[in-house]
């Protein structure tokens, strides 16, 4: 270890970590407010502070958009991937706060409201750390910080046995996955002799080009890592915890759980498989492609038989994991299809596969949290989450029904909504990478999904209302739903601009790789 690097560890460049630090201090401030503020003011002040904190972190991200640096001796990176993933996570955090505030406040047998916001902040912080990780240790610590906070969030209604049961399954399988992941990381470290992602990639590049001997253990390590992360993103056949955990958790928390931990899992996959184990792409892409196909088909097939809308969306979220993995399988460092991106004096090519995955994650945050927000809205008004509870919503409350229609149709992937472009870019990336069969699988799986998404719409408009809605005022939730519905249309119409951003930042990541491999 040379002197420069050691100095970097003792006096790091703190300004690179501003957004993450803001979220960290937000969590601490929330803890203090929870302890010292009078109970009556908790709802207003804590909600405002949370939203303000995440918004400030997004603003701080702006000063990082053209950075390509690392600090803390390579542990922390401020590159394109960090910026885009952080943007997704912080948007998801704001939307989750907006949709969950009133629901959690009225939840029976819950923990204090302040703890909810604190856990949310720590979960986001962990995910942000994974997004900016440059080292195996950082990936592991970040993903665990995020997961630990989410386990508690899943059990937030602590007097309800189903919530605890879901949380327990989530916890046990999550831990099991972490153990597999860390054992896989151990072998990666043992074979390559480093925990730094760039050095791992450099060593493996040497192995692939033949200057060093190839060890069969590396495939074993790769398998362990893929299985461990497969649990985290809920890919079939490692999805068993998903429906139960999603069903048991408070509804807005489910929306959060389907986006933030998934984004953290994909961040870990991007950092680990693409940046660290990228040279082994030819070994892992087929595995990912097969898992993606299984995940898409299985998720959509099982979702068809669900009467409970929350469970249906749980299986639909499994299916969407599959679509995202298609983007990952289309990663190909030598494809030459991408656009040239220049950053901080270095130029490299973006990768269409990674771009489509990033775009999909971004779109998914707005669509899925929105769908769960409408279920929350219905639950507020004294109905449950069975399909029958949505009957006649089109007559009793046209606006809510309209919003739900937008989210369902967007999840299904109909133009010109956000969800369509997400799927479109994934399919294009798969075709570019010569994975035509995978692109066909995406189309077939989407066709399958039309049935259960449209069934919700049909029930809302063509069934007679079963019961009266209770009058309840939820201004923040209404604003959140309106925001997401508008975003689905607007970001769909301006999808080129968003895609350009995703493309720029996926290119920025390749720049970082190119610099490192020199």
């Amino acid at each position: 270890m040379n002197l420069d690097l050691s100095l970097d560890l003792i006096s790091p460049v703190w300004r690179l970590t501003t957004p993450q630090l803001i979220v960290f201090f937000l969590a601490l401030v929330l803890l203090m407010l929870d302890a010292f503020l009078p109970k009556a003011k908790h709802f207003t002040v804590l909600t405002a502070v949370s939203i303000g904190g995440y918004a400030a972190a997004i603003v701080a991200l702006y000063w990082q958009h053209d950075k390509n640096e690392s600090t803390f001796n390579g542990l922390f990176r401020a590159d394109g991937l960090t910026v885009f993933l952080s943007l997704i996570l912080l948007c998801a955090a704001i939307l989750s706060v907006m949709t969950s505030a009133s629901y959690v406040d009225r939840l029976e047998g819950r923990m204090p409201l302040g703890e909810f916001y604190v856990l949310l902040a720590f979960s986001i912080l962990g995910a942000l750390l994974v997004a900016s990780a440059g080292n195996l240790i950082m990936i592991f610590v970040g993903i665990e910080l995020s997961a630990l906070a989410t386990y508690v969030l899943a059990a937030f209604a602590k007097r309800r046995a189903t919530a605890l049961e879901g949380a327990m399954k989530y916890f046990l399988l999550g831990m099991f996955a972490s153990a597999l992941l860390v054992y896989g990381m151990t072998w990666v470290y043992g074979i390559t002799g480093s925990t730094d992602l760039d050095q791992i990639a450099a060593h493996l590049q040497g192995v692939v080009t033949g200057s060093e001997s190839r060890q069969p253990e590396i495939l074993f390590a790769l398998l362990l890592v893929v299985v461990g992360l497969g649990f985290k993103i809920a890919a079939v056949p490692f999805h068993m915890w998903t429906p139960d955990a999603y069903d048991g958790a408070p509804t807005p928390v489910t929306g959060f759980m389907s986006v933030a931990p998934k984004a953290a899992g994909f961040a870990a996959i991007l950092r680990l498989l693409v940046q660290g184990l990228g040279p082994l792409r030819d070994d892992w892409y087929l595995l990912i492609a097969i898992l993606a196909t299984l995940t898409m088909i299985f998720g959509n097939l099982v979702a068809i038989s669900q009467r409970n809308v929350k469970r249906m969306l749980a299986y639909s979220s499994i299916a969407h994991t599959g679509y995202m993995m298609v983007g990952l399988a289309a990663y190909n460092s030598a494809s030459g299809e991408g656009r040239f991106v220049s950053l901080a004096g270095d130029t490299a090519q973006s990768d269409p596969g990674i771009t489509s995955l990033l775009y999909y994650l971004f779109a998914y945050a707005f669509v899925n949290i929105g769908a769960f927000a409408v279920i929350t809205w219905v639950q507020h008004r004294g109905r449950g989450m069975l399909l029958e509870d949505f009957a006649g919503l089109g007559q009793t409350n046209p606006l809510a029904a309209f919003a739900m229609t937008i989210f369902m149709v967007s999840l299904m992937g109909v133009p010109p909504l956000l969800g369509f472009y997400a799927k479109y870019y994934v399919i294009v990336a798969a075709i570019n990478a010569d994975l035509l069969w995978l692109a066909v699988a995406v189309v077939l799986a989407s066709a399958l999904s039309a049935y259960f998404y449209l069934r919700v719409v049909a029930v809302m408009y063509f069934s007679a209302p079963s019961r009266e809605l209770r009058a309840t005022s939820t201004p923040l939730l209404n604003a959140g739903i309106a925001l997401m519905a508008v975003a689905n249309v607007a970001l769909g119409l301006f999808s080129n601009q968003v895609l350009d951003l995703a493309d720029f930042w996926s290119g920025a990541m390749t720049v970082a790789q190119a610099v490192a491999s020199r």
Binding site: E144, Y151, K158, L164, L172, F176, S194, P243
Partner: protein, 102 residues
């Protein structure tokens, strides 16, 4: 008997890992499953130390410190969830906890 080499530690670690994994997959008691997961994490720690020792690098040992800290935090969260659950349903057998079903 020859000297202790890195392969001895790796074999020990692999054995512990497999015992832990089998335990998670076979046993029905939540607490035993939980202990088996801890065993798997410990197995990973042993191989991290062994690799670090073999390569004369400190990275592996630093990694172990973080893994131990995370395992401790996980025990706190996990036991809290298990405790709250066993108070509600009066059992720690996963086969008997099945309110959530398709």
């Amino acid at each position: 008997m020859g000297e202790l080499g890195v392969e001895h530690f790796l074999s020990l670690s692999a054995a512990l890992f497999i015992i832990g994994m089998m335990g998670v997959l076979i046993r029905r008691n939540i607490l035993i499953i939980f202990m088996c997961v801890e065993l798997m994490l410990t197995a990973a720690n042993i191989s991290l130390i062994a690799f670090g020792w073999q390569m004369h690098s400190l990275d592996g040992q630093v990694f172990v410190l973080f893994t131990i800290a995370i395992a401790a935090a996980e025990a706190a969260v996990g036991l809290a969830i298990i405790l709250a659950l066993s108070r509600r349903v009066h059992t720690v057998d996963v086969a008997e906890i099945h309110e959530l079903r398709d």
